[in-house]
């Protein structure tokens, strides 16, 4: 079962050197070592994943954070029968790992070794795939399921979740299972913070298809916390599923 490990560029920092040595030793001990590719300015995720699949890898492991996993998912989804693993390293942008039941750091190697595979749904925005969530601020017009519209009386912070938790207490909604959840939180001015959000007045709508448009200027959409697109946009659940290695303590 050939593994390919894709290291995010931030892992080149010297502070991660000893963790990476331990990681590689643990993977060898568990018998799941494989080729390593490192993201650089000259090597994109798509280049690395396409190359690995061409060389026969059937498990691509994202080593990094939520953004690394989202990028790998987007690159892998076009290939058939490829399984994705995840080793979360570092402490920033690590919200997906707890949902998948994957511990931070070296312990994630044991989850990888156990190889419990779940098929999770992936979102699609226009013609691009996304994994975690999409956020937008303002008062866009939302057309849901081609049957009803949602009008917002004031600016809102809108989050469309596929694999994300939205409540402060980290309570997760049914996710990654073929349905998206749109969470609409009214934004209120106050203090030094322009958008002070009121969680109590939030709305949540389970959806499968959503069309976002704006009457005035184009509004920016932040996709998976690293890409920016603009309205109008059609958001759906992709027909393809992502095969992902998860832990026993997964919340999804």
């Amino acid at each position: 079962m050939p593994y390919f490990y894709l290291y995010d560029s931030y892992l080149q920092d010297r502070s991660f050197a000893s963790v990476l040595i331990k990681l590689e030793t643990t993977l060898t001990d568990l018998g799941i070592q494989g080729r390593v590719g490192r993201l650089t300015l000259l090597k994109s995720v798509n280049d690395l994943v396409d190359g690995a699949v061409r060389d026969g890898a059937d498990t691509i492991v994202a080593v990094g954070n939520d953004i690394t996993l989202s990028q790998v998912a987007q690159a892998v989804i076009k290939h058939n029968k490829i399984t994705v693993g995840f080793i979360p390293l570092g402490t920033q942008n690590q919200t997906i790992a707890p949902l998948l039941g994957i511990p931070l750091g070296i312990l994630a190697c044991h989850v990888l070794s156990s190889r419990i595979v779940e098929e999770l749904s992936v979102g699609k925005i226009n013609n691009q795939y996304w994994l975690q969530s999409i956020t937008i601020e303002g008062s866009p017009l939302l057309e849901c399921e081609r049957s009803y519209e949602v009008n917002l009386e004031s600016p809102h912070s809108i989050k469309i979740c596929n694999l994300d938790s939205w409540k402060e207490n980290k309570e997760s909604l049914p996710q990654g299972k073929g349905q998206l959840v749109a969470v609409l939180t009214p934004a209120r001015g106050g203090g030094f913070k322009f958008f002070k959000q009121s969680q109590t007045n939030a709305s949540s709508l389970p959806i499968r298809e959503l069309k976002l448009s704006s009457t005035d200027d184009e509004l920016p959409l932040i996709v998976d916390n690293y890409r920016t697109l603009k309205t109008p946009a059609v958001i759906t659940v992709a027909t393809q599923k992502l095969r992902l290695i998860v832990g026993k303590k997964r919340l999804i």
Binding site: Y148, E149, V150, N151, L152, E153, L184, N201, A202, L205
Partner: protein
């Protein structure tokens, strides 16, 4: 008890700052605190909060109403109207609970219609051409 049941596990929540227009359908529990214009249909429980303003025909398995509804309400099991509820329209349900102070301006029928019958009735209503009198 009923209130608590409906409050917990509402998969769809329409907050007070939101206005929904059109045919809203759900398979799960729905809680509405905002405005809805059109139709509401759910095979789960429906809770309409005090601030809610509904201008729609409603179909649900169970419903708890504390807000204002202009439209017909069809509930297959149990309909509960709180003291602040106001319905301008006909209601059809199997079990009806009305608190003191609730307003109901319309006909009340307690026939206990089944979900299958509701679906068939909706299809029939859509198929029939509307005639103005």
């Amino acid at each position: 008890m009923f209130k608590a049941d409906i409050n917990s596990g509402a998969e769809t929540l329409i907050g007070p700052s939101v206005h929904v227009k059109g045919d809203f359908k759900s398979q799960g529990n729905v809680q509405i605190e905002g405005q809805v214009t059109g139709t509401i249909q759910t095979s789960g429980n429906l809770r309409i909060g005090e601030q809610a303003k509904i201008n729609a025909n409603i179909n649900a398995a169970n419903a708890f109403v504390a807000g204002v509804i202009k439209g017909n309400v069809l509930v297959t099991e149990r309909l509960e109207l709180s003291a602040k509820a106001k319905i301008d329209g006909d209601i059809n349900t199997k079990i009806l609970v009305i608190a003191e102070g609730a307003q109901l301006n319309g006909r009340c029928q307690m026939s206990g219609i089944s979900i299958a019958e509701v679906t068939a009735k909706n299809k029939k209503d859509k198929a029939l051409p509307t005639a103005e009198v």
